[in-house]
């Protein structure tokens, strides 16, 4: 039975406060609840919100209202203690905060445009590096992190937040706990993005992929993510009106907890100033932490929240429940348990211990099944609704997005297999793999969600359905045009690098040959990228035009329902204990009760406990990999001849990191024949104990530099920075002329050396007190070398000298012969006398 009681009134105040209406409802509810067959009142009110203000206005005009009263004879449906007298039920009114969703949706579109445009620019710069006109802020090494950060944290990040704010409120049947925290979250996150957009082109970076931002920004991220966003989310869960936490919420919980954990532990640094921090981990351990973070950033920032999105928006768009809820539970826990182990597969054949690498591979392969379980669950949700897919572009976006999820999660485990990884690693294959996931899965799921959301958020129909369809087809072709040539490029690179002729020598000894061979494919990528950006432009235009067609005032439905009771006794009659009268031990009876898994159902209703359990699952897995890596000394055998960098080399290393050289050059020679022939002796774990951050890289657009020291003359490097093509014809490296023109700030080297010292580099007191002098002396030695080799004079103050010092040091310690011990110099002695004359600094 259903009764409809019209209400009307004028509301003032905050969105959650409707005093006049509340009094009407409270007057109505006891009366209705006193009528025994009726045990629930749902009051549905539509309030109107003027739309010309970007934020929520201070008042709401009530446009229309009605109370819907539903008869229900199922008394056991009422929570314990609340049935019976209607006066015991405390009715509450609430509305969903869609303003924050609108804000995040708008930011998603804006940053989507910026992120993809930045990607297009770096794709062009890769082929035409001279387009930067020598401006250091526009070099590939500095802009590539800007592109990745914009795509991941700005575009995908804002998309996640839009999805979470929209779906969480509706899944919990409550408004977000705090509007203030929601808005703080929005503006805090946009501030992080703007700070990233400013600092990365300026070369302020940690030099770790997807974790480039320096420590002050990292602290801001941690606060905004964990306390503002996480706190608001958790409190919303606690105050929800839906007893069961839908599986999408589980994925959101895992996202919030794990990303916080990854972010904090990977970014532990010792500050060496406001714009520089040194990782507390070094070499192998830093690499391990970084890829524990890097891989799980993909897992818990680009996968789990998007799966939550899928589990909410796909059923909404298809208007049917998810295919298998049981499968979604298995999907969730499998991912949480497995993903966290998989990071080491990024470090196959490196100096990482073999056992860690194998463990990473094993868990990566295991990931395939749950991932495909999720994909199948998504696609089968459309069972019986495929006719809708043909007509609805939103569903088309979702179907292609989920298909790309399936492709990427098949390819990922495949690439983690060592034999395949030996071929694919450092090549463009990885880039193609990443982009099939980012453009196909993250991009298309976001676009599908936005096209579903925009008409609902702006309360009008999409400006152009045709343009949505155009976006879909343009985007799909764009992805294929991007990934197919880049897969081919990666395969070509991998095969050319390892190809040996009949005499056992490299068929392509010059790396540039292999780069030149794939440049036509890079052009095709530019075309694909251009089409993808065009698709985002279509979305932007459609969104703006739809927004312009919004009503003068947004209608805000207001609902009335009681809060969940704190104490909940399940009304479902307990299933019969078949062992109750059986002649078995009490333990068996207890085990039988435990095996009913009622305890798990209870846990699924308790957000705090659920969060703790998820955290434990992630932490336990992490510790099992981390502890041995850090504690087994044999994992990183020390090498007696490996010594800390000199102050000038440390300054040069800082420049190397700032310029983003790791985006194109690796510093890790794998024990693979073709690599040792090309680059020299394979890298050892003990060689990196002073490398903070490690700079092994993940891609070779240029050659590996692990054994670069002494390969070329210092003047060669000087000319190479000035004009790479002059000494290396066909090079795609941009010129770094500013390093030849700008002076090095010798006084600023001290904090870097002190940070290294505090982190364990064994500098003597004399060295610590004479940092500037030592650096100047080594710079003069290198400058003199350059002059001897035919270079310009008086260049010892230039930044390039420091970078040359660093490059000339790389990989040389392993072959250094021990010098006879020299007496420890005292502080009073002049530094020139204190240092052994027979060991020039440049060779230390």
């Amino acid at each position: 039975m259903e009764l409809v009681a019209p209400l009307s009134g004028f509301l003032c105040g905050e969105a959650t406060q409707f005093p006049e209406l509340a009094s009407e409802a409270s007057a109505l509810a006891p009366y209705l609840l006193g009528w025994r067959p009726i045990n629930r009142v749902v009051l549905q009110v539509k309030a109107a919100v003027p739309t010309h203000d970007a934020t929520f206005p201070p008042f709401f005009l009530l446009a229309s209202s009605m109370a819907t009263v539903t008869a229900n004879d199922q008394h056991d449906a009422v929570p314990n203690g609340d049935s019976g007298s209607g006066g015991e039920l405390q009715m509450e009114q609430f509305s969903y905060d869609d303003t924050i969703v609108r804000m995040f949706a708008a930011a998603t579109i804006l940053w989507g445009l910026v992120g993809t445009l930045a990607g297009l620019i770096v794709a062009v710069l890769l082929i035409l590096p001279e387009l930067t006109a020598g401006l250091p802020w526009l070099s590939f090494g500095r802009l590539r992190p800007l592109h990745t950060n914009a795509a991941i944290f700005a575009f995908a990040g804002n998309a996640i937040f839009a999805a979470i704010y929209y779906s969480t409120q509706r899944l919990c049947k409550t408004r977000m706990w705090s509007d203030t925290l929601s808005h703080l979250h929005f503006w805090g996150w946009q501030l992080v993005i703007v700070l990233a957009a400013v600092t990365l082109p300026l070369g302020i970076t940690q030099g770790k992929e997807y974790a480039e931002l320096e420590w002050p920004i990292d602290i801001l991220i941690a606060v905004v993510w964990l306390f503002v966003f996480g706190g608001n989310f958790l409190m919303t869960l606690i105050n929800r009106r839906e007893r069961h936490m839908y599986v999408a919420l589980w994925f959101y919980i895992a996202t919030i907890v794990t990303v916080a954990l990854l972010h904090v532990f990977n970014n532990l640094v010792l500050p060496a100033g406001w714009f520089k921090g040194y990782s507390v981990y070094a070499g192998v351990q830093d690499a391990f932490m970084q890829w524990w973070y890097g891989h799980n950033a993909v897992a818990f920032f680009l996968t789990t929240p998007f799966l939550g999105l899928m589990y909410y928006f796909l059923p909404k768009a298809a208007e049917r429940p998810v295919f298998s809820y049981r499968l979604s539970i298995i999907h969730f826990w499998s991912l949480v348990f497995i993903y966290i182990w998989a990071g080491p597969h990024h470090l196959h054949y490196t100096a990482l211990p073999e056992w860690a690498s194998t463990l990473g591979m094993l868990f990566s392969v295991m990931l395939w099944m749950p991932s495909w379980g999720g994909m199948i669950n998504g696609l089968l949700t459309l069972r019986g609704a495929w006719h809708k897919v043909a007509a609805d572009p939103v569903l088309k976006f979702f179907v292609v997005g989920i298909t790309f999820y399936g492709m990427a999660t098949f390819e990922g485990p495949m690439l983690s297999i060592k034999a395949i990884n030996a071929l694919s690693h450092y090549t463009d294959w990885t880039i193609a793999h990443v982009h099939s996931g980012a453009l196909g899965w993250n991009g298309f799921m976001t676009f599908g969600m936005l096209y579903w959301l925009l008409p609902r958020l702006f309360q009008t129909k999409m400006w152009s359905e045709k343009l949505v369809s155009w976006h879909f087809w343009t985007g799909t072709i764009a992805i294929l045009l991007y990934i197919i040539p880049i897969y081919a490029a990666g395969l070509m690179q991998g095969l050319m690098w390892r190809d040996l002729d009949e005499t056992g020598n490299l068929t392509y000894p010059e790396l540039i040959e292999t780069i030149q061979a794939i440049i036509p494919l890079w052009w095709l990528r530019v075309v694909g990228g251009l089409l993808y950006v065009a698709g985002v432009c279509m979305l932007s235009m459609n969104a703006v035009m739809t927004w312009l067609a919004r009503p003068a005032e947004y209608e805000v439905p207001v609902y009335t329902a009681p809060r969940l009771t704190k104490h909940y006794d399940e009304q479902v009659p307990p299933s019969k204990d078949e062992l109750a009268d059986a002649p078995v031990l009490d333990v068996a009876k207890k085990l039988n009760i435990w095996a009913r898994m009622d305890w798990h159902r209870r846990w699924e209703r308790l957000p705090v406990r659920f969060t703790v359990i998820t955290t434990i699952a992630v932490v336990v897995a992490t510790l099992f990999e981390l502890i041995p890596t850090f504690l087994i000394r044999s994992n990183v055998p020390t090498i007696a001849t490996v010594q800390p960098y000199t102050p000038l080399e440390l300054a040069g290393r800082h420049i190397y990191v700032s310029e983003g050289c790791y985006n194109c050059h690796s510093q890790m020679i794998r024990p693979i024949v073709a690599e040792t022939i090309r680059y020299g002796e394979y890298s050892k774990a003990g060689e990196f104990i002073y490398d903070r951050p490690f700079q092994w890289g993940s891609r070779r657009i240029g050659p590996d530099l692990a054994r670069e020291g002494g390969k070329q003359s210092s003047f060669w490097h000087w000319r190479h920075f000035e004009n790479p093509t002059e000494v290396s014809e066909g090079s795609v490296m941009p010129a770094y002329a500013h390093l030849l023109a700008d002076d090095l700030n010798f006084k600023a080297i001290q904090p870097h050396v002190m940070a290294a010292y505090h982190l364990g580099a064994p500098y003597s007191d004399a060295e610590l007190e004479q940092v500037e002098k030592l650096a100047r002396r080594q710079a003069e030695e290198i400058a003199a070398e350059i002059v001897q080799q035919g270079g310009p004079a008086a260049m010892h103050e230039k930044q390039a000298i420091a970078l040359i010092a660093y490059l000339q040091r790389l990989g040389t310690d392993l072959f250094r012969t021990e010098e006879p011990e020299v007496a420890e110099p005292t502080i009073e002695v002049d530094v020139a006398d204190a240092l052994p004359e027979e060991e020039p600094l440049a060779q230390r």
């Binding site: 009106r241 007893r243 099992f624």
Partner: protein, 59 residues
């Protein structure tokens, strides 16, 4: 003492123990998921379909 303890522990078994731990947890979860009644699974799955509070709002 802590140092001695850490030195004495053989961490090389961590990988195998971790794998066993995972398998046990995974099997537990699969078993738990399969124990979920069809009625409850259908109710849970239909939660996103409505923005309004529906009865019954609990299991």
């Amino acid at each position: 003492m802590l140092k001695d303890l850490l030195t004495a522990i053989d961490f090389s078994d961590c990988a195998e123990f971790a794998l066993a731990l995972f398998v046990a947890a995974f099997l537990g979860i699969v078993y738990g998921a399969l124990r979920l009644s069809k009625q409850a699974a259908e109710r849970f799955a239909s939660i996103p379909l409505s923005d309004q509070v529906k009865d019954p709002r609990h299991e």
